[in-house]
């Protein structure tokens, strides 16, 4: 049974987890569009995705049935996800002045519309999207991908 105290503790824990994630990293992108149910999970803390919700390195992006979400990253990579999607941004480095560029991600299920940004322009082999059955290497372009069991 959930008591108000338990709810409060859960909230406080979630808040600390979020603050912890924030202290480590700057956001690497922001949610720009949402329809239906979508969430961002960072360092174990799950938040409902809304326009303006930050995305961090390591975040897990999820959409529910009949839902969608769009995210724009710091390097101007633009991604949108269709229904029932699970996508993670495992590695994201964007420091062009130091030549540190990397976008390593995984589409576990669902659909993605990808438009490449500066990382793919400056370092063509730095962008990869893993799927359960393979890896997509990107050389600056737009594409669609669907993953279904």
């Amino acid at each position: 049974m959930k008591t108000p105290l338990v709810n409060m503790l859960v909230l406080v824990f979630a808040l600390f987890a979020t603050l912890g994630a924030r202290a480590q990293d700057q956001p690497i992108g922001y949610v720009k569009t949402v329809a239906g149910e979508a969430s961002i999970t960072t360092a174990g803390a799950r938040v409902k995705a809304e326009v303006g919700t930050p995305v961090y390195q390591g975040s897990l992006l999820q959409t529910g049935g009949k839902s969608s979400m769009g995210v724009t990253f710091k390097d101007e990579t633009v991604m949108s996800f269709g229904a029932d999607t699970t996508f993670s941004v495992d590695e994201y480095l964007y420091a062009p002045a130091q030549g540190k560029l990397k976008l390593g991600s995984k589409l576990s299920k669902g659909s993605l519309n990808y438009v490449s940004g500066v990382i793919a322009k400056l370092k063509p082999d730095a962008v990869s999207i893993a799927t359960p059955t393979g890896v997509i290497g990107v050389r600056g372009t737009q594409f669609l991908v669907k993953v279904e069991d």
């Binding site: 969608s68 633009v78 059955t133 669907k146």
Partner: protein, 204 residues
């Protein structure tokens, strides 16, 4: 009952067979998990390399597709299939980011042309539901690296202040200085170059 002419029967049978084959080919050629290359929003077509247990496919023409496990797809997925799989995904795509370059006469004073750009930048930003903005300052190569790091930062901050004072309401603004490390026009050190004295504003 009049007998149907044999040629008509053959044609009908032929059509039915062709349709059935097309239908089968359609089923067989589009796997459940696949990648499809589109042109970039600027019209150019890049390249995607799909690697998996069943091979490696290089897609470099718009409309080409491959199975995510690296198998080739001979017949591209039909439009009805694409609509079914991707119409909501595509509809969720955020507005593409836009970039502006603002130039300076000296110090942190904008050129009059760049001054005139400010209302457009604000209008552009206001048309978006969520705004994050990156402002990056740059200098030419006159003076030391330290001096220019500071000057480029002052330029970026001056632009942020100006945008805010004109009513810009952004949820996240990042300000950076690239000093003289990131020249637009390559020059030797200690070179006067107005095109390098700039601030890049990216609205995402």
């Amino acid at each position: 009952m009049a007998a149907r002419p044999a040629w008509l029967l053959r044609t009908v049978q032929g059509l039915a067979m062709a349709l059935a084959l097309l239908w089968l080919a359609g089923c067989a050629s589009t796997p459940k998990s696949y990648v499809l290359l589109l042109p970039s929003p600027d019209g150019t077509v890049g390249k995607v390399i799909v690697t998996g247990a069943n091979g490696e496919q290089v897609l470099d023409k718009a409309g080409q597709a491959a199975s995510t496990d690296g198998r080739a797809i001979a017949v591209p997925p039909p439009q009805v299939q694409l609509d079914k799989d991707f119409s909501t995904t595509i509809a969720a795509r955020p507005k593409l980011p836009v970039n502006y370059l603002l130039y300076f006469t000296t110090g942190t004073t904008l050129t009059s042309e760049s001054q005139a750009q400010i209302p457009r930048i604000i209008a552009d930003a206001t048309s978006r539901s969520s705004i994050d903005i990156s402002v990056i300052g740059h200098t030419d190569t006159i003076m030391t690296a330290e001096y220019n790091e500071q000057l480029a930062l002052s330029r970026a901050n001056a632009v942020v202040e100006l945008l805010k004072s004109r009513g810009l309401n952004a949820s996240a603004i990042s300000v950076e200085s690239h000093g003289k490390r990131n020249l637009l026009i390559q020059t030797p050190d200690n070179t006067f170059e107005p095109r390098n004295r700039r601030v890049e504003v990216s609205i995402r």
